[in-house]
Symmetry: C2
Subunit: 222 residues, 2 copies
Amino acid sequence: MPKISLKSNVLSKNDHIAQEIRSQLHSLGIWTINLIGSPGSGKTSLLEAVFSYFDDTGTCAVIEGDVKTDNDMQRIAARGVPAVQIQTEGACHLNAEQIKNKLSQLPLTEINLLIIENVGNLICPVAFDLGEDSRAIIISVPEGVDKPLKYPSAFASADVMVITKIDLAPYVDVSPLELKTNALSINPGLEVFCTSAKTGIGLEKFANFLLHTRKKSTQQNE
Amino acid sequence: MPKISLKSNVLSKNDHIAQEIRSQLHSLGIWTINLIGSPGSGKTSLLEAVFSYFDDTGTCAVIEGDVKTDNDMQRIAARGVPAVQIQTEGACHLNAEQIKNKLSQLPLTEINLLIIENVGNLICPVAFDLGEDSRAIIISVPEGVDKPLKYPSAFASADVMVITKIDLAPYVDVSPLELKTNALSINPGLEVFCTSAKTGIGLEKFANFLLHTRKKSTQQNE
């Protein structure tokens, strides 16, 4: 069974590095979240918008993952948040080694929240632990209500779901409630946020989740 | 270099089967198009809408690819178009062997157009020839203008781009013209269609492309 062994080895190596990352970040009092979503689901726009609810963006950093371009890193940096870019040059997901190699470029002694924005893909990033404490699925209203049923692993592996572009619901005949119901049928434990970067709906609540959770985590680690 | 050899072998086997499929379909006078796009880019809705411009949907068949569910096959079949579903059970793209195994379930002697709707993913399906004559990238307006720059391989490997959900442009501050310009900067040869399944914009033009091209192809093969 060479295919299975090869895959297992890759994942085992990745998981080992991910655990090292988690230990290192915990020892520094840093809480980490991994954002997974389709291309154009609004991951970067969500972050841009949510940062305006942070009193001090200097206590947060972002690792951006994309096949090509550093556009997203530039957008985040323009908000005063330390950011680095990983360009995968064709690869369909981030892996733990790439994260490990970028940590030295971040102000780790100054932050207590690390946000990783994965490559736009609802399938491949799911299998790769990046050392995160929390995993969020970002799904936009125009993608439709059936995506949790079609891509169940993504939703099953997450503990948070952020529905974005909720302002578009009236124009696309998509019910955010039905989308939420479908996601909860896959993973009843999902914490769900409904947001719009355009109108501001739900942003403060998601910002509070990030700020509260990292604070709780930091206190636990002290 | 074991990694490269393994990947080369997989692709070489896939390409060999794809060439067999292409030969078989050409011998039957069937023209094939492979639709690649993000989850929720509107591939199935585009097909549903475009079929209303076909005089005879019985001369067309669809192979649907999804990680899970046969929802899309059901939607296509409800339009009177022969359709079969491939559920990849976790895999991030269709491969030629899966297509080959499904051909016997299609009315090949009655059709002259085969449409393959790939798994929702803008990265992984690109490397896998399915025996198609044409490859179309389906991208929806809400995904944003920068996707051709971020996922260049998808756009470079296609000969057609269909922009969907163009009715949403005013609500998302996305310029379809800028999206088109970015795509053409990656691949100047792309034939571009701007469509809305909701308002009907551009559907007849895309239907005519499908009908005209298959007719031309059938005549060439006679």
